[in-house]
């Protein structure tokens, strides 16, 4: 069965310093992986997705993630944090046993990582 583990429940960085949010996945298949962000009182917004194309995926707002099959990891990074990046971040894998992501298969969420950005 597919699963994701987010290794940190809370990360705190200073504005202008790099961000690293860690995620490990477990999948019997070639996974589709995503990062979603949730700002307070807002919906879950897709940051980026990996679907077996380039292993380095660029997303919105300067975020990127690298798929590393040997390490079963999909860590999210950003070179320089901004105050507006403070939010909850979710690493997500699609249920490829049920069907491919593009066919409406369910998403399996990690526990979430709360990112705080200090001025």
């Amino acid at each position: 069965a597919q699963s994701v583990t987010q290794l940190d429940s809370h990360v705190s960085v200073s504005e202008g310093t790099p961000v690293l949010l860690r995620c490990n996945y477990s999948s019997s298949y070639s996974p589709s992986l995503f990062w979603y962000v949730q700002h307070p009182n807002k919906g879950l917004q897709l940051l980026l997705k990996y679907t077996s194309a380039a292993t380095l995926v660029k997303g919105i707002n300067g975020f990127e993630a690298e798929f590393k099959k040997s390490e079963t990891s999909f860590h999210l990074t950003k070179p320089s944090a901004h105050m507006s990046d403070a939010a909850e971040y979710f690493c997500v894998v699609s249920d490829t046993a049920r069907g491919f992501y593009n066919q409406g298969g369910k998403l399996i969420f990690g526990q979430g990582t709360e990112l705080s950005v200090k001025p």
Binding site: Y36, Q45, R98, G104, G105, K106
Partner: protein, 112 residues
Amino acid sequence: EPEVTQTPSHQVTQMGQEVILRCVPISNHLYFYWYRQILGQKVEFLVSFYNNEISEKSEIFDDQFSVERPDGSNFTLKIRSTKLEDSAMYFCASSETGAGRYFGAGTRLSVL
């Protein structure tokens, strides 16, 4: 930018009462979903809906739950007889092709 709208933002109900959570998906989308997040736990899949029928449901989605698309624009989740453990944030999502899920801001359900 189009968005998924959920109402109400917070619903308080008594145990045993019926509740209906409402969602307005993005207008040209064909796939619809409900997820929930109990406080302190992971976001969990409940159900997916396509072509006017349930395409997949989780073990959480028992006979107390039902979904409906009553008028071609709304997508509702009904809980017939709420339990304390139904207290959670409920997220609606939609997608055009099955890819690129767009999520709403959620409805916080509090069962007293």
